[in-house]
Symmetry: C2
Subunit: 234 residues, 2 copies
DNA sequence: TCAATAGTGTCTGTTAGACATTATGGA
DNA sequence: TCCATAATGTCTAACAGACACTATTGA
């Protein structure tokens, strides 16, 4: 078996064309929006693009993602997570063989100052895009939904002090479903994630809401038994 | 801001050196083992390596990972999941700028036939390796533990028919902790993942165990409220 | 006073985990 | 017979989700 000994021999690195593709998400009008750029050339095959670029020499991919965010928004994202590397046949706007993709979360405030040609689009109403960019956006939303209960992503979208209703709204947006108010607050208490500060905020009509701040205490003990939720049917 | 308009202009792809690195895991002696290769050159900086290679022209990274597995084991892995792309400063044995890494699961049977220079090593007792390979192995175990309850990874490590005790042992191995027998079986029943076949297997002393086969029915409804387990402390 | 939102108390069905018990083979 | 393993029944504490209720403001 010649194939098998080849592997033990010293492999040699090889070059390929690579891009860093960035999915910036922000809460907007009660739903999640992704930042898309309009192609400079109107005759371009793909009218709408994710921000992307080739990493510069010696530049790690996550640094390239941050640079992309600064380029379109002027600020780095409040949270940045790698999605995956996509290198299948699906077409990339720059025909990169490999796409290292990231998802960045952006709070609502600074999100409005974008460069020309950049628009926030509801993730449920995407326009026609390059096939690879399309799957990257879908994967980005999946990544956020899977990691939200294991990293403080939601808090990065809020100012230092916030009401529990605001926090719940962010969770509902990122998870894509509504949560039960009392259960949400009980779970929060049990997790020792937030603590109340001595301030209240009155917003229009109802009773003023107490403000909280993110103050994670030591993590709780082990999670319990195996849950077989959401098993994919292979 | 000149920086900002640069992004809207058409980026150009650029080449960089890339590798595909593969973490093959198998159950062995009651713990998880990873396949390492001994460096061909004994004066090499890194004595122990993960199987890796540059992807061939036009070859998707996952295909390169399967090719690597065939090279060292003669067979493709029973399950393959992408870990991530690592492109930070940590040193790679081939000095690749970017590592697209995969974790493959291999059942115990065929796992013994390895090429010369390939050994199975307990993941808890890793030898000195290149820094990037070290973080890739750690990330591989994390990926398996996070995806095991959302994809049928455990079943890929078992023959078509198996006892529930064998299945539980695989879960315990992959999760790295012991599970409660009655709860495990209840969860299994509730998930409609397996069905009994009309066979029993007697193994040594005790009562013979009924054999089961993997037969996932339609997935269950939504999972319930937010769980704040295992929140990382930022 | 009403409307609207914040926040809490209580009940119920589900279930994880503990424990005990039965079942069934081999030594 | 004793022992080891399989498999199941029962109890309890924890908890998600539902519902109702109180609290507190602006209109």
């Amino acid at each position: 078996m010649r194939e098998r000994s080849l592997v033990v021999a010293r492999p040699a690195v090889r070059s390929l064309t690579a891009a860093v593709d960035l999915v910036l998400l922000t809460p907007r009008d009660g739903s999640l929006a992704v930042l898309l750029l309009k192609a400079a050339d109107p005759r371009a095959r793909d009218r709408w693009l994710l921000p992307w670029d080739a990493p510069r020499p010696e530049e790690p991919p996550d640094q390239a993602a941050i640079r992309l965010s600064r380029g379109v928004l002027g600020v780095p994202p409040a949270a940045l997570e790698q999605i995956a590397a996509f290198g299948d046949g699906r077409r990339h706007p720059g025909d990169a063989q490999l796409s290292v993709s990231f998802v960045g979360l952006v709070p609502h405030g600074p999100a409005s100052h974008t460069t020309d040609g950049a628009v926030w689009v509801d993730v449920e109403q995407l326009p026609l895009m390059a096939p690879r960019h399309r799957v990257i956006v879908d994967a980005a939303v999946d990544v956020v939904r899977k990691r939200i209960d294991q990293s403080p992503l939601a808090f990065r979208l809020l100012p230092p002090s916030f009401t529990l209703s605001e926090l719940q709204a962010i969770y509902e947006l990122l998870l894509g479903r509504s949560l039960h108010k009392a259960s949400f607050r009980r779970a929060l208490q049990a997790a020792f994630l937030v603590e109340p500060i001595d301030e209240w905020r009155s917003e229009g009509r109802g009773r003023p809401a107490q403000l909280y701040r993110y103050a994670p205490k030591r993590r709780r003990g082990m999670r319990r038994g195996v849950r077989f939720d959401l098993i994919s049917s292979d």
